[in-house]
Symmetry: C2
Subunit: 147 residues, 2 copies
Amino acid sequence: MTSRGLEQLKQLCNDAGIKLTHQRLEIFRELLSSNDHPSAEIIYQRLHKKLPTIAIDTVYRTLATFDELGLVRKLHIMNERTLFDTNLDIHHHFICTRCRKVEDIYWPDFDKAMLPESTEKMGKIQSRHLEMLGICNECLSKQENQD
Amino acid sequence: MTSRGLEQLKQLCNDAGIKLTHQRLEIFRELLSSNDHPSAEIIYQRLHKKLPTIAIDTVYRTLATFDELGLVRKLHIMNERTLFDTNLDIHHHFICTRCRKVEDIYWPDFDKAMLPESTEKMGKIQSRHLEMLGICNECLSKQENQD
DNA sequence: GTTAATGCAAACGGTTTGCAGGGGT
DNA sequence: ACCCCTGCAAACCGTTTGCATTAAC
């Protein structure tokens, strides 16, 4: 959600004909400052300090709205709760199978690469997303310390 | 689940020290004949004709066991129920966002390709999985017919 | 003032678990 | 005979929905 400001939210709400409520603004602000890939639950917890009356279903509803507006993208990784990606640039993900951390990966050469012919025959491809599973350095070093 | 037979299941159960029950055998047999990516529910429904007394939780438990044995692989796609992949060869997926069909894609050149340096620095990568989202030809032609 | 959005609570759906009885070794 | 596995039912947990109230326009 880099390089976007609160002004843009106002504009987007206007264009979409929906109201710019206090909750939407605060959830947007929270997403702006998120560098990770938070779940609805995590966003709710972080927001709860500032907005003690906010309900978890409002967070879900707002994230669904933001998804429709193209402000966030849903991630379905492992069997966990849905994560929300605020980075709209074309990118991919490294996922630590141990601590479940998700990190963004940029690989422009791959994004430009032609797909195999067999794939093109299956239908019209709209996007490609690469998931790399492994163990992150943090977990690897923890493992060494245990030995 | 190509190129594997029931003999292998017997061997695997023996090695793992678990029992080769009627249910496990039938679920394995069902998976052998699956060319798609069925959910636990679908496997349950298909099996119900042959084994009317089988319970859905047995299907879940058995699939979890098979996952541990490396006989199937879980797929977490869109926000749906978990799908089970019986194809253990290295491959990727084309996913139709309209009808939610999942098709296997082989791309050996990509499997051999070096990852960007930044990725290697994040940790030890164990596998990579590519998801291509789009509209399948079947859905595309349905769309044309509607016009 | 009108209408859409929120908060609350209850429902939902896929998946998991505790337990007692049954089947494989 | 032993004990793991199954079937049944109930719990579980993330997410969604119905409804009355509240707040944005």
